[in-house]
Symmetry: D2
Subunit: 196 residues, 4 copies
Amino acid sequence: MPTKITVLFYSTYGTNHGVALEAVRAAEAAGAEVRLRRCRETAPADVVNGQDAWREQVEKMQDIPEATLDDMEWADGYFISVPTRFGVPASQFRAFVDTLGPLWQSGALANKAVTATTSAQNTHGGQETTIQSVYVTAMHWGAVIVAPGYANPIKFEDGGNPYGYSCKPGPLDETGRKSVTFQAQRLVEYAEKLTR
Amino acid sequence: MPTKITVLFYSTYGTNHGVALEAVRAAEAAGAEVRLRRCRETAPADVVNGQDAWREQVEKMQDIPEATLDDMEWADGYFISVPTRFGVPASQFRAFVDTLGPLWQSGALANKAVTATTSAQNTHGGQETTIQSVYVTAMHWGAVIVAPGYANPIKFEDGGNPYGYSCKPGPLDETGRKSVTFQAQRLVEYAEKLTR
Amino acid sequence: MPTKITVLFYSTYGTNHGVALEAVRAAEAAGAEVRLRRCRETAPADVVNGQDAWREQVEKMQDIPEATLDDMEWADGYFISVPTRFGVPASQFRAFVDTLGPLWQSGALANKAVTATTSAQNTHGGQETTIQSVYVTAMHWGAVIVAPGYANPIKFEDGGNPYGYSCKPGPLDETGRKSVTFQAQRLVEYAEKLTR
Amino acid sequence: MPTKITVLFYSTYGTNHGVALEAVRAAEAAGAEVRLRRCRETAPADVVNGQDAWREQVEKMQDIPEATLDDMEWADGYFISVPTRFGVPASQFRAFVDTLGPLWQSGALANKAVTATTSAQNTHGGQETTIQSVYVTAMHWGAVIVAPGYANPIKFEDGGNPYGYSCKPGPLDETGRKSVTFQAQRLVEYAEKLTR
């Protein structure tokens, strides 16, 4: 039975959507069964529609299912990609996380492998702290944290964030693709080990 | 002109509402002009109404205005009280924070004095990390962080959280009242110094 | 071949020594081969000898080998127990960590399972942040973080620190023994999975 | 009476020494009385002497007094500059911090203004987490944290670390000088306000 990975993301203008797509590709290439899921948009419709770039991104993601509790229970591991907002993940991610209480209480969130990535406008504007914040939460779930560290040479080329890949807004470049690929493969490898 | 303090809180079952009320009382007693503001409830109405305790708490807070950008710009200092959700503040707080982009860009959030408190179900279930998460965000705003440390003997009686008062759910006890009073007075004192 | 665990600790007055001994017992009971190692004392001899309790603790640990690079390379997983100093681990631990550069560069620190515990004078005086600080460092090594979460009922009795067991100074009580036992067993279980 | 600032740093190869010198210059230009103090080298002499660059740096700093408790008590504010080691400050800094217990107990560390900077080999290799770690500790002291945020346009040019200036190893460039100058001036400004 293949290892099951949920790639969970939120994206306002597309950056973390791009990371998530690359993570899906790499996880599938590594043999995993993958669900791509987005966090429900919680901003008011008039706010979203008031910005062309935001509205267009929402339209681009229409075919991606919104994450549910089942997507969290089903998976052996999570690849989480969320933009920063003042040093922690966007509230759309937190709003979804806040619905996980029942799963947590039942123990169904425990023992999953978790890795995370992020994006920020500034080089040092939360690229480290945002990922740490995801891991703090994942530890409450009883997750096993699979950060990349410097366990692959690509980490000395991609900005060297040992907690997870991070970038400024925009499409993934070649280095970013390699780094996300490594991180997703590593997640699959360890999620598989954990469930054996 | 008195020092202006916004007491900003979110509460599901009343704990942080109680802390906020005590902070208002203490800040006013210290000579501040105070606005008590709650973060808008973002959970779906049927979820809130499906739990008696939650619905009743929402009803109790009906007369407290929801926080706006003006409440953040107006104040010299913020007293923030929010419950944990898996080690970071509840998403209702984050949803409000995510609306502050325009204020941040204009510089209107900079140089405010900030202090924070929290509550958690477990003694060590995010009582430290949740407050740290608020401060990470406040540093993005350009705030001056006024944590209590152990700058008053009450901190050796209240559990000794140097980042801010924290507690388990329930009404404030006498020690909690003293600790919140100290922290609010300290905020007023430093907010006043900062604006002179 | 049994899973190899290094129990690495620093202790000034005995608390983390007690936790470490319990972790050794539990890890061996779970089938692991265990090395108990202490971080070298770096405080000046006159400071140590100037405090009876400190000097006596050093004497008690004379038969425990000081940690070396080989102990880090050898193990499949680390159980780390260190007291807080102002919210992060004692400098004796950090002094040892700072010698690990060559191992890190060679890649020999990567892919180890890591779990951590701590102690602090105050209930909320760094019991969460100190463990998080250990994990930040372990992520730089490329470790897999095996925090306990709430993956065992004991976590609802022991103060509920999901990052790792934590306590005030003193001998381990029955609840503490159970919690440390769970955390050590969990480490062995996952370290074994990771190395298969 | 001028505001009193202690610029406290540790440097292995010179980067944080350079930042500290710039901070001294800027703080004095802002009217402060400044003490430049270095954390005592705690690495064994043969380790230091085994690396030319390290030994030469120690020689360069011979005229800078080692930090003492009095330097911490004397000042109204601290400018702290320390390199990362696996995501937290170098152990030489922590060794000094661990001597501050008596000052802390007497209350003499409370109510100081604190700001911090760091350096790391990798762009995202602890440049955020290391500064956060300093602030966690400073909150235990009862400090008032004066992070730069984005309170000056230079923060949109210097990598945008809102917690404090950070850089890769090497001499300060023009942007770095401006950023450190802003951060030091800001510290002096707020330290002065706090002590009025």
